[in-house]
């Protein structure tokens, strides 16, 4: 129960950061990091997979409600939630996948965590921006958007992880 509450608070926090800070700053046409996926990255390793998919769908629909793009973020989040367990299986051995563990820098170590989060961030932004533009017209623009946004999003996640590691 306590666990669910803490997840809920983290969810609200991440959504507020995304909607009230990042989206409102409107930095540039090319820099639109989808920082909210940090919440999905941080779900416990032992989470049942079907719940994880539903949570991903819910998070996506929430973001869609804010940005008036029904289904766009939901599609990307469900894909992310589907891929995440595979990556955890790939990078983390059986013993480390203890119940209740959440993927973090202190648990995974730099090398694994960088690989784990960068792959998911890049996949998410690729699908998000390709689906958003919905045509190959202006594909160069989409590529730049994917690269810059992924880098900024990745850096934001790392900052949060480093702070978390130093203040457990």
């Amino acid at each position: 129960m306590k666990n669910i509450l803490s997840h809920l608070f983290r969810f609200i926090g991440v959504v507020l950061i995304q909607v009230l800070l990042i989206d409102q700053m409107s930095l540039s046409v090319y820099v639109r990091p989808a920082f909210y996926i940090y919440f999905l990255l941080c779900l416990p390793v032992s989470f049942p997979r079907w719940i994880e998919l539903l949570v991903g769908f819910g998070v996506g629909m929430t973001m869609d409600s804010f940005s008036n793009t029904l289904g766009l973020h939901a599609f990307c989040c469900v894909l992310l939630s589907y891929l995440r367990p595979f990556l955890i299986q790939l990078f983390v051995n059986e013993e480390d996948r203890k119940a209740g563990m959440t993927p973090s820098l202190s648990l995974f170590g730099w090398n694994t965590y960088l690989k784990f989060s960068s792959i998911l961030v890049v996949v998410h932004h690729c699908v998000l921006f390709c689906l958003e533009s919905f045509s190959f017209f202006g594909f160069g623009q989409t590529i730049i958007r994917i690269m810059l946004s992924s880098v900024v999003c990745f850096l934001l996640i790392l900052i949060f992880e480093v702070v978390k590691k130093n203040n457990p």
């Binding site: 029904l70 689906l131 202006g138």
Partner: protein, 281 residues
């Protein structure tokens, strides 16, 4: 039968994944052009409430520029009042017989002031959310202006909020004309720069000059005639093309927009019904 159940249990995650992906993709396709669901959009009470909070902070920060805008707007309106009063006295003096001239006391156009609750300008499909809804008499396809500048068109309405397609949305098309010679075209926008629109359908025989103003044509009853859209930045005539591609620097700045007016045309429905009757025949 048992095999079937086992099969489903084995692949339940994958099946759920496929179902959710198909569901969201269908939703996305359905709402691709503009949002028409009230619940899952920024007109929903919760989302609009959250966005409202952020907007209040932003408004406080922008008070200075909002103030100067409002005071210049005030001055412009005062001038207009003075000019109209002068006109009125001139007309009422010259006409002894009042049957020829009746001052239009009830203009068909009414303005409703609204506050911008949420706005995006750096996406492929941008939207504005305003704090007026069907309770205030807002309906679909009303025009939205800021001062004398065109902002966009209302596209979906809930009780207390409405979503506006701004000029910087690929599905928006506003009938405009060049101020100097009155030739009409359609203003569109392509994703990228949020300050440049494209004016299409102006024929090659027209002489287009840089710096000319682009204003609304008044052909549709969404906007009255003469509202400022922007200025011609650049025009080119591709070889073999019959129409110019004219780049228009948009007048309105979506990044700092905070107060707008919704245009309510009393005769909108009448004109629409009349025009649709012709199309059906």
């Amino acid at each position: 039968m048992r095999n079937l159940i086992q099969f489903f249990l084995k692949y339940i995650v994958f099946i759920l994944f496929l179902l959710l992906e198909i569901e969201s993709f269908v939703l996305y396709l359905k709402h691709h052009h503009y949002p028409n669901s009230v619940f899952f959009s920024s007109t929903n009470v919760v989302t609009a409430g959250v966005l409202n909070v952020s907007n209040e902070v932003k408004q406080f920060v922008n008070l200075r520029s909002a103030n100067s805008f409002l005071s210049s707007e005030n001055a412009r309106l005062n001038n207009r009042v003075a000019a109209l009063e002068q006109e009125l006295t001139r007309l009422s003096r010259s006409e002894g017989d009042s049957t020829f001239f009746t001052y239009p006391a009830s203009s068909p156009i009414r303005f409703l002031s609204a506050r911008v609750v949420n706005a995006s300008s750096n996406r492929v499909r941008n939207y504005l959310t305003l704090d007026r809804g069907s309770d205030d008499g807002v309906r679909e396809d009303m025009g939205v202006v800021s001062g004398n500048q065109v902002v966009g068109i209302v596209k979906s309405v809930s009780r207390h909020f409405c979503v506006v397609l701004p000029l910087i949305h690929p599905s928006t098309g506003v009938s405009c004309k060049l101020r100097s010679n009155g030739y009409v075209g359609v203003l569109r926008w392509e994703p990228g720069d949020d300050s440049v629109g494209l004016l299409a359908d102006v024929g090659r025989h027209v002489s287009v000059t840089r710096g000319d103003s682009v204003v609304t044509s008044g052909y549709t009853s969404v906007f009255p005639e003469g509202f400022y859209v922007g200025r011609v930045l650049d025009c080119e005539l591709p070889t073999g093309a019959t129409y110019y591609t004219i780049q228009v620097g948009l007048g309105v700045n979506y990044k700092t927009l905070s107060h707008v007016e919704i245009v309510d045309n009393k005769y909108y429905e009448e004109q629409r019904v009349l025009e649709e009757m012709l199309e059906e025949e």
